[in-house]
Assembly symmetry: C2
Homo-oligomer: 244 residues x 2
């Protein structure tokens, strides 16, 4: 069995750092625009810039500067632009704060199975976060990818010669960590995180109908893996997907 | 024999796009600062920000905005900041322009040897450039890395089970493509490019003493590979490095 983990908001906190930064800048811009309007503008520009910037903190900072220019109609003082730049750098330097159960669970599982880390985002920033997390040693492989879709998972499974039926992905994003893995015949455990990035939300039919497992925290993952194994790796939905 | 190629300024033009962008912004800022002074400020900030941003166009754009704020002492009009953002996006979207001999040489070599592409920079941007180059099919593997040092090359050679003695790296940067490959006992062909990024320059003792080959363009690479093979993969310097 190969078990793969998402990183941001699965192993360590990430989204709150973005939210906090956005809140800080919203406060600086409140004489021009209410916070929710800035948020809408930012979501709009992030979505538009995604095909140029991809995911991550540098693209977020650039889109935040662009949002500030637009909502103030070109009246933003230079000092605030500098503060946005500084906030972007602070995000990148932010300490890596692990989620509950991560250390214990990875330690326990790493002695039994090859573990992979599969994370989406900026190569350089993700590498520094993995290094600072102190978790790198737990993983047999670390894959930093620009998008988590079916093709990406297929490529990774090929690279490590992993059979999809014996592959379990654990992550907080139904869109990126769960549905594409089910689609290629793999198994998935969803650990919901409190806040989700607007661009990472997706409509789905729920865990039972889609055929994935849900854990409340990393602490539950080892038992859930035993459950999946006991099912003979053949949940009805997974089997149906594999028959496609 | 495994042959690996650098991408930026080896397979396609890159540095001139950065230079052109910088020149364009220098023109907009000329009432505040002469172009060379802006260039010095930018180099300084890029170097300082490297440990946060890594390499690539997004970090460059952020450092360019920061430079503009500093050299104008906070007097830069918002319209110019928007123009820097737009210039950064234009860089990312810039068409991929192949260097002379690239298509012919890759086509010829790909039928005889497994080829790799090893490039440094932003994951998402490099992937789109590879896709737009039309060259992806020539390569047995594409490795986008955050830094090109000895550890990186060792990791890639391990991944593909390549013997360093039978590995040749082709690239324009002595610092990133040549010296680290020689250090791990591999072979290297340097194709100098007209302009080099300030942060990618390095002192070295010259091709003969360091033990690498120099080609004027991609056209010369196939014959040079035959030459290396004829030397039995044992140039005196490479042999000495391997004995370390």
């Amino acid at each position: 069995m190969h078990i793969a983990f998402d990183a941001d908001d699965t192993l360590w906190h990430n989204e709150p750092i973005f939210d906090l930064t956005q809140g800080h800048i919203a406060e600086l811009l409140k004489e021009w625009v209410p916070a929710d309007e800035l948020g809408e503008k930012l979501n709009h520009l992030e979505r538009r810039n995604l095909r140029l910037f991809g995911y991550g903190a540098k693209g977020f900072t650039l889109s935040l500067i662009e949002s500030a220019l637009e909502v103030t109609r070109g009246e933003i003082p230079n000092a605030i632009i500098q503060q946005i730049l500084d906030a972007g750098k602070a995000m990148i330097e932010h300490p890596v704060e692990l989620l509950p159960g991560v250390v214990e669970t990875l330690e326990r599982l790493a002695s039994q199975h090859p573990l992979l880390l599969i994370t989406k985002g900026e190569l350089f920033h993700q590498e520094t976060k993995v290094a600072r997390s102190g978790l790198a040693e737990s993983f047999a492989g670390i894959e930093i990818v620009s998008e988590k879709d079916e093709a990406t998972y297929r490529r990774i499974l090929d690279r490590y010669a992993i059979d999809a039926e014996r592959f379990v992905m654990v992550g907080n994003s139904v869109k990126s960590d769960i549905l594409p893995v089910l689609q290629i015949g793999g198994n998935a455990i969803h650990i919901p995180y409190d806040s989700n990035w607007e661009l990472d939300k997706i409509e789905h039919r729920g865990a039972e109908e889609e055929g994935f497992f849900v854990a409340e925290s990393m602490f539950e993952v080892p038992n859930m893996l035993q459950e999946i194994a006991a099912l003979g790796w053949q949940t009805p939905v997974a089997a149906a997907n594999r028959g496609k």
